[in-house]
């Protein structure tokens, strides 16, 4: 039993650190740490840097271009990348559509899409949720009717993250409305430049445009873009939901956030005393540190179990809940640290009012409410645990 990394693992960590030091643009890392917006170019650049190194598609089998990492290596990479302030990777191509294509796609689909994903030629979006189908995903209504060698797609998707930049979207669509709701669904790849596709921004309460609605109005999609069998899309969807998500707890991100908060608490002097020396603030900081340590070690235990050959199943639901709770609490304390300067709502392009960090504190706090809502709400995760682990 050894909680320390062994020599090989340490060597790998050093390699990752060196790579990040040499390749992660400092200004981008600074923006990430300070919860600032990245440009699409900055995001794509980082994907391509990793792609060239062969580290982009961490979870892919080696034969398709994955790096062949063990669970511990994946963990080390994610943790180091997050702590260094790397941009978060967009999961839609690499970790969502790609595994489905690898598992269910035709050879032609694999040959065409996978290299493009590795090169970040396409910006993928996810077309799952609909206005009437959130937690109850299978009740989706977007229709795809076969006409010759095309589907004609009509309907609407929502919460499409960063869809404004995307040129491709994978969608769950209803191809048979006459059968049980899970049974008439298909998994379709749609070119967002097709006539009839409209993207409408959804502005979130912090003023961001992170999500969108996507409308399909008689959109023609070649049948070649069907992944897996027609009406078997639910199988793809379920596969995706259980697909390995080591980073779900976001421990590296939380560690970086807490470290940043500590720096802030040392540097922010209120009434002559740094925040970190004010007992009530220090108490809350220490409480969060304990919580985060618990999440970190729980995450490592799951990683270690995976390393030992175990398959993380519903445990990832625990990690999702624990990890998002602590991230949200950190953002709450960050807001508190800002004091009255949490109020100014200043565009990042303008000079800050008060301490540099303060103006993004409240927007970040509000933005991070999403963590417990999207990606399977924490209530859904509890339902999953109740059923799968507790047998209730």
């Amino acid at each position: 039993m050894d909680i320390e990394y062994n020599a090989e693992e340490r060597a790998f960590r050093d390699e990752v650190r060196a790579f990040l030091r040499d390749n992660l643009p400092a200004d981008v890392a600074e923006k990430v740490k300070q919860y600032k917006r990245l440009t699409p170019e900055e995001m794509v650049h980082w994907h391509r840097v990793l792609g060239e190194k062969g580290w982009l598609a961490m979870h892919w089998p080696e034969e398709y271009g994955g790096p062949g990492w063990s669970p511990v290596q994946k963990h080390i990479f994610e943790e180091e990348a997050a702590e260094a302030g790397s941009p978060r990777l967009l999961p839609f191509g690499i970790n969502m559509v790609a595994p489905v294509i690898i598992k269910f796609g035709t050879q032609a689909q694999k040959d065409y899409y996978l290299p493009r994903i590795l090169r970040t030629d396409d910006w993928w979006a996810q077309g799952y949720s609909e206005p009437g189908a959130g937690s109850d995903l299978a009740s989706l209504k977007t229709r795809a009717e076969r006409q010759g060698d095309h589907y004609i797609v009509n309907g609407q998707k929502t919460w499409t993250t960063l869809g404004q930049h995307a040129n491709m979207i994978f969608c769950l669509v209803r191809t048979d409305p006459t059968v049980k709701k899970q049974e008439g669904i298909s998994f379709l790849l749609i070119d967002m430049n097709s006539p009839g596709v409209t993207v409408r921004p959804l502005i979130t309460l912090d003023g961001e445009r992170e999500v969108n609605e996507v409308f399909f109005d008689d959109v023609k999609v070649p049948v070649d873009n069907l992944v897996g069998e027609e009406n078997k899309g639910w199988t793809c969807a379920k596969y995706l939901l259980t697909f390995e998500r080591t980073g779900i707890a976001g421990v590296g991100i939380s560690k970086a956030a807490l470290a940043h908060l500590k720096t802030i608490a040392r540097e922010t002097v209120v009434r002559g005393t740094p925040l970190i020396e004010q007992p009530a603030f220090a108490e809350r900081l220490a409480e969060l540190e304990v919580e985060l340590m618990a999440v970190e070690m729980t995450n490592l235990r799951v990683v270690a179990a995976a390393e030992a050959g175990g398959v993380p199943g519903a445990e990832s639901s625990f990690l999702k809940i624990m990890g998002t709770e602590v991230r949200q609490k950190i953002s709450d304390l960050y807001r508190e640290a800002a004091g009255p300067y949490a109020l100014p709502f200043i565009d990042e392009s303008e000079p800050a009012v008060g301490p540099e960090f303060a103006n993004v504190a409240a927007p970040t706090y509000f933005n991070l409410r999403k963590l417990s809502i999207f990606g399977g709400s924490n209530e859904i995760q509890k339902n999953i645990i109740s059923k799968a682990i507790l047998g209730l």
């Binding site: 937690s135 109850d136 929502t158 004091g339 100014p344």
Partner: protein, 383 residues
């Protein structure tokens, strides 16, 4: 003991409620919020015509002589509509200072300008490195000739961008965190040496950073005695806290109502999500949080004239509860709404933002808890 409204209070309530219902639909508020000024001059004039701007002023100053109950009634109504006009700044905070500090003739004149809706004020009290401490004042007032010269930096001055006049709290003596030695000056917002950087706040209001560089004011800019503004400032801020708590109570009520409606309407898995017991119990917790805020706000509002120790305790308790229970209601409302709760186009998002951010005005939960804790310890030492 009688917790019911008097006839006048009931009329006041009906008036505010009707005004808010008519003028402050979510769409109307959005158009006011996104306007250049960030509030509506027309609505402000309506407030004046309806007499709302005179509610807390003493009769001597030409007002309605409203107390804590009236302040609560008005603010709760404003909270329900997320009203954006600078009532707190102009009427509650600056109005109270004028009412308590100005001499008789000046008081009537200044109050008239407020009550009639001609002049809007902002209170420039807190400073960049003072957090929520109103006594942490570095801004200096130096006597020069017949008047004074003011220098300093005032932080997050609510509605400081659009105010015609500022009431600036400045120090002529005393330690940096002392209530002694503070004076209140009326400063024209466009006076030479006054620089304002206006901005929006995340909860849809406006504020400004105000710097004063060698700002010359006449002798009559001074309200009350030199160095003698401490008590009046405390009193004004206490009224401000009660108004904020009542506003939070109003906003929390609507946040609960909107969430409850959503639980009944929104269907998943073929049933309204309100049929899920886990969500029902969380909705009950939200309502319980609302009741606690209502109760403590009510208590604080009725205690504005009580003896200092009691008054301070009740006011601090109310604000602490707003910070705690408000956050619970706001976070749960967003969570139960799911994605829709995150959307700028949803009313609930704006209620959540206002409720949470009220914690950042005039002392947050931690600030007021410290006051309560110290009281406890002091009492123990005295005993």
């Amino acid at each position: 003991m009688d917790f019911s409204y008097s006839d006048e209070q009931r009329m006041l309530k009906d008036m505010v409620d009707r005004l808010v219902a008519d003028q402050y639909t979510f769409e109307a508020r959005e158009s006011i919020r996104t306007s250049e000024a960030g509030f509506s001059a027309e609505v402000w004039q309506q407030f004046a015509e309806l007499g709302l701007l005179g509610v807390p002023f003493s009769e001597a100053a030409g007002g309605f002589d409203g107390g804590g109950a009236e302040l609560m009634v008005v603010s709760e109504g404003f909270g329900r509509g997320l009203v954006l006009e600078p009532y707190l700044s102009t009427v509650v905070l600056c109005g109270s200072l004028i009412d308590r500090l100005a001499d008789e003739t000046r008081r009537a004149e200044l109050a008239e300008g407020i009550i009639g809706g001609e002049t809007r004020y902002a209170l420039a009290s807190h400073e960049p490195d003072g957090g929520y401490d109103p006594h942490w004042v570095r801004t200096t007032a130096r006597a020069e000739g017949d008047g004074f010269v003011l220098d300093g930096h005032k932080a997050v001055v609510a509605h400081g961008d659009s105010a015609d006049r500022l009431i600036v709290i400045a120090r002529s003596s005393g330690e940096i965190d002392s209530a002694e030695g503070l004076s209140a000056f009326i400063v024209e917002a466009d006076a030479a040496g006054v620089h304002r950087r206006g901005y929006e706040t995340i909860d849809g209001h406006r504020a400004a950073e105000v710097t004063l560089e060698a700002v010359h004011v006449d002798a009559d800019a001074l309200l009350g005695e030199v160095g003698g503004a401490g008590d009046a400032l405390e009193s004004a801020l206490e009224r401000g806290v009660v108004a904020l708590c009542a506003e939070a109570a109003g906003a929390m009520e609507i946040a609960c109502d909107l969430t409850l409606d959503y639980l009944k309407e929104r269907k998943q898995f073929g049933v309204p999500i309100g049929s899920f017991q886990a969500l029902q119990h969380r909705m009950v917790d939200m309502r319980m949080a609302l009741e606690k805020v209502r109760s403590l706000t009510f208590w604080a509002a009725c205690s504005l004239e009580s003896d200092p120790a009691e008054r301070r305790q009740r006011i601090a308790a109310a604000k602490v509860m707003v910070g705690k229970a408000g956050r619970l209601v706001a976070e749960e409302a967003i969570q139960l709404f799911g994605g829709m709760g995150m959307m700028e186009e949803s009313a609930i998002a704006h209620y959540a933002k206002r409720i949470v951010m009220i914690d950042h005005y005039l002392g947050d939960r931690t600030w007021h808890m410290a006051a309560l804790r110290e009281t406890l310890t002091d009492t123990a030492r005295a005993a």
